[in-house]
Amino acid sequence: MIELTRAITIGQFVAGKSVLHRLDPRVKLVGMLAIIVLVSLAWSLSAFLVCTVLALFLLALSRLSLRFVLGSLRPAVIFLLFVYVFQVLFYQSAAQHTSMLWQWQFLHISVEGLVASAKVSYRALLLYYFVNLLTFTTPLMDLADGSEALLRPLQRIGVPVTELVLVLVIALKFVPLFIAELERLMKAQAARGVKLDSGSFLSRALKVGPLLVPLVLSGLKRAETLTIAMEARCYRGGRGRTRRRVLALSGRDVIALTFLVVVAAGMIAANLRGPV
């Protein structure tokens, strides 16, 4: 069965009117940054608990279907499980020998390794989840506006922020088109005898390799056409361009920011205090 569009959800936006959808994109981006930092620093069990509660709370706020969001985690879960096995087997630490369960040559399984690797994997899963939640509830153009507003100070030191943001917008716009193209290429392969939907994970991954060249070629062609389309509509870089959208903070956004500060404080406290 080949249905990539179902598995790959990165960059997809799910229209809705929830609180999360309506927040100012700048607040969402700052919140996202804060969450990334907090999750990356989480070490104690209670800190992970706070993260999980936060994840569930935001999910409830977003009013997205639980089944859909869990489904979107599937590719990450499969990948992380795969990585987890290696992490455990090659785990290195000084205190490890005290909790060794099994050992052969340079491969080993220890309780400490199991726990530490689980934390790393869970952290990655949380990050993947939060980024997904952001794109599910934020239209691409809001993300672009938000990042442009936040990065504007860099313009003073000569960073072409407006152009970079447009590059981001177009790149994300191409994601669904690319997935559709990849799906077409895979179908064409399957129609000519390649067994894409059977075999081990690794052998399947290897079969996608040869598709990259036609995929990149079609991407370049699209980019070229889009350049012409943009020039035809008088795009000359950020110079002399009006921005139609104006961002404004509302009461809702202030509450969200306050909430963020409280959660961050709670997280830091949980991390400091909690047992390992």
């Binding site: 069965m1 080949i2 249905e3 569009t5 179902r6 959800t9 997809q12 936006f13 799910v14 229209a15 997205l64 279907s65 089944r67 859909f68 489904g71 239209p139 691409l140 153009m141 917008v169 177009i170 994300l172 716009k173 669904p176 088109l177 193209e181 077409r184 290429l185 179908k187 064409a188 392969q189 399957a190 129609a191 000519r192 005898g193 390649v194 067994k195 040869p210 598709l211 036609p214 070629l217 079609s218 699209r222 056409t225 889009l226 012409i228 389309a229 943009m230 020039e231 035809a232 509509r233 008088c234 795009y235 000359r236 002399g240 361009r241 009006t242 921005r243 139609r244 959208r245 104006v246």
Partner: protein, 610 residues
């Protein structure tokens, strides 16, 4: 005025698929006029469009819009502001992914004040009736809706001229009509000059001027009446006059009906009515076999009765993205059967389930519910080898680019034989056979680079690659979409040859009935994932108004029949050719001239006899 003055543009010519050149073209487009540009693929139409819109600068000559020259460094931006460009495929054109941002993109680039941008965006949205889609992400809109967004984005820049490069290729008939009506309105009310590129002559009958280009130069230029009357010149350029005009001329010259020259079906119906030929008797007559004329029956199914069909779908249901907010029904209880050696067509508008049918037939998708049978075996049964199915059922997809997997033609076609671990000599033989089966000489093509082939050659190589699997069934998904009339005819004759001479069973998926009338033994009309009705091409054509309501693409003969039916309610509408249509009109009028008008004489034959 938009003026092209002895404009030339050429490409380096290393790649065969590079766009065609333009040589010393001079033409002027007045504000408020509708100008059509016709020509074969590779005649230079698209190059001319880009030159006129200022995205290409001519190598010789000048393009001047309202006094601004594209060769001038600032002038080129003034030209781009004044001349809007709409592409064939909206996905090539849309920059952002929401409707408001997309339409505002141009005005934003012009640096207009914010209030003015809002005003113009609102205006364009109203003009194209897009109010309902404000909150829908662009990639969830249909192609037709996206094309309207693209046009709105161009209009928001308030251009004085619009250049449209085959904008209706991806659109069903009723949406194409809507777009044309909008253009007429823009020309009439706002004085916008329109340069409209197409190869569908029926679309441009109401234009002010028609220009036909061939190999980069202007071959014909004049009013639609003048251009379409030059039949022989048109034929030499690979074009035919509109069917309504052809029929009117025949009815007059051969049948003695005093009809004036007409260009459109509506005008033809009007001419019949005002000539006193309208026939309101029997307005409630039953549809089949009216007016007592017999048409040749369609080719019947060659495999009769007992034989187990090669492929069969039974009550297949499939939902894409099940369990996500993007759920979409692909199939909704669809059943069809493909007898061995038959030519089965599935015809329906976009999203009617055609592509899902293709994916089910070679086991790429297993329908969520329902059965797929291959030679009577359930493909979902344990122990069924999907490879057997995929070897036997070759699928050729719409876009050849996504199907060519290697850089050299020979290597690409050898892909399947080498996978099967056949010997080199055996593979080579199959590659040669497959290439020659699609009409490409082996020695000439086997070492060519695939990316440097022309569009038509790519399609042929894509088919050859599938033929190298040595399938017994060929599933073709919209194989002729986007080809010009000449390319289309060549391609259909290749498919006819594969079916009749090579004995391949064909499943042909298409948005238009036109492609399949001549070849299909059974036509399934699809609607929203299930079969609306089915039958022989002629039987299906009896339901013309229903087909039209389902937005199925119809051949122009049927469009004329549909229109004349209002005037002649007892006329047969299931006509396959213009000749049959003329016969049906005569029969409906109860005239006896019919006998003098031998149905077997075809125009071309008579010309060669003279």
């Amino acid at each position: 005025m938009l003026q092209l003055d002895r404009v030339s543009y050429g490409y380096s010519g290393l790649e065969h698929d590079s766009p065609a050149a333009v040589r010393e073209i001079t033409l002027a487009i007045e504000p408020g006029t509708l100008v059509a540009l016709l020509g074969q693929n590779g005649s230079g139409k698209s190059t001319l469009a880009k030159l006129a819109a200022g995205v290409l600068q001519p190598q010789a000559g000048h393009v001047v819009a309202d006094g601004f020259d594209t060769c001038d460094r600032e002038g080129v931006w003034a030209v781009r502001e004044r001349v809007g460009l709409v592409f064939q495929h909206p996905d090539d054109q849309l920059v952002t992914n929401t409707l408001l941002d997309e339409i505002a993109f141009g005005p934003e680039n012009l640096g207009l004040p914010r209030e003015e941008i809002e005003h113009r965006v609102g205006e364009s949205i109203r003009l194209l009736g897009l109010e309902r889609y404000l909150d829908v992400p662009l990639n969830e809109l249909s192609v037709g809706q996206r094309q309207r967004v693209a046009v709105a984005g161009v209009l928001a820049m308030r251009p004085r001229y619009i250049v449209l490069d085959e904008p209706t290729t991806m659109l069903p008939h009723h949406l194409a009509e809507d777009l044309l009506a909008t253009l007429r309105e823009l020309a009439r009310a706002d004085g916008i000059g329109v340069l409209y590129i197409t190869h569908r002559v029926e679309e441009v009958t109401g234009f002010d001027r028609i220009i036909v280009i061939e190999r980069g130069t202007i071959a014909l230029d004049g009013s639609p009446e003048d251009v379409f009357s030059a039949r022989e010149q048109l034929a030499a350029l690979g074009l035919e006059p509109p069917v309504a005009m052809h029929v009117a001329t025949d009815l007059r010259e051969r049948g003695g009906l005093p009809l004036p020259d007409v260009l459109t079906p509506v005008d033809l119906a009007q001419a019949l009515r005002s000539g006193g030929y309208a026939n309101s008797t029997g307005a409630t007559a039953p549809r089949p076999n009216r007016a007592g004329i017999a048409f040749e029956s369609s080719p019947s199914l060659s495999a009769e009765g007992e034989d187990v069909p090669v492929l069969e779908l039974r009550d297949a249901r499939h939902v894409y993205m099940r369990g996500t907010p993007f759920e979409q029904v692909g199939l909704n209880g669809l059943s069809l059967s493909v007898p061995r050696g038959a030519f089965v067509a599935c015809v329906g508008p976009t999203r009617s389930g055609k592509s899902t049918v293709a994916d089910c037939l070679n086991g790429i998708i297993r329908p969520g519910r329902g059965m797929v049978y291959f030679n009577g075996q359930d493909i979902a049964a344990p122990g069924f080898d999907l490879d057997v199915l995929r070897d036997a059922v070759g699928v050729v997809y719409q876009n050849p680019e996504s199907q060519i997997l290697k850089d050299i033609v020979g290597k690409d076609i050898a892909f399947a034989p080498l996978r099967k671990k056949l010997s080199l000599a055996e593979s080579r033989r199959i590659v040669q056979e497959s290439l020659e089966a699609v009409g490409l000489p082996y020695e000439e093509f086997r070492n060519r680079y695939t990316y440097a082939l022309s569009g038509g050659e790519k399609r042929r190589v894509a088919i050859a690659g599938v033929l190298a699997m040595q399938p017994s069934v060929l599933v073709l998904d919209e194989p002729v979409a986007g080809l010009d009339p000449r390319g289309r005819a060549e391609f259909l004759s290749l498919i006819r040859w594969l079916h009749r001479e090579r004995g391949l069973t064909i499943v042909y998926l298409s948005a238009s009935l036109e492609d399949v009338l001549e070849l299909a033994s059974q036509v399934y009309i699809l609607d929203a994932g299930s079969v609306a009705f089915s039958g022989s091409p002629r039987a299906v054509l009896e339901h013309l108004d229903r087909l039209d309501a389902l937005h199925v693409g119809l051949p122009e003969v049927s469009r004329v029949a549909l229109e004349l039916h209002h005037v002649l309610p007892n006329m047969r509408v299931d006509c396959l050719t213009a000749l049959e249509l003329e016969t049906a009109v005569f029969a409906a009028l109860g005239r006896t001239e019919l006998t003098a008008y031998a149905p077997s004489t075809v125009l071309e034959e008579e010309q060669t006899d003279d």
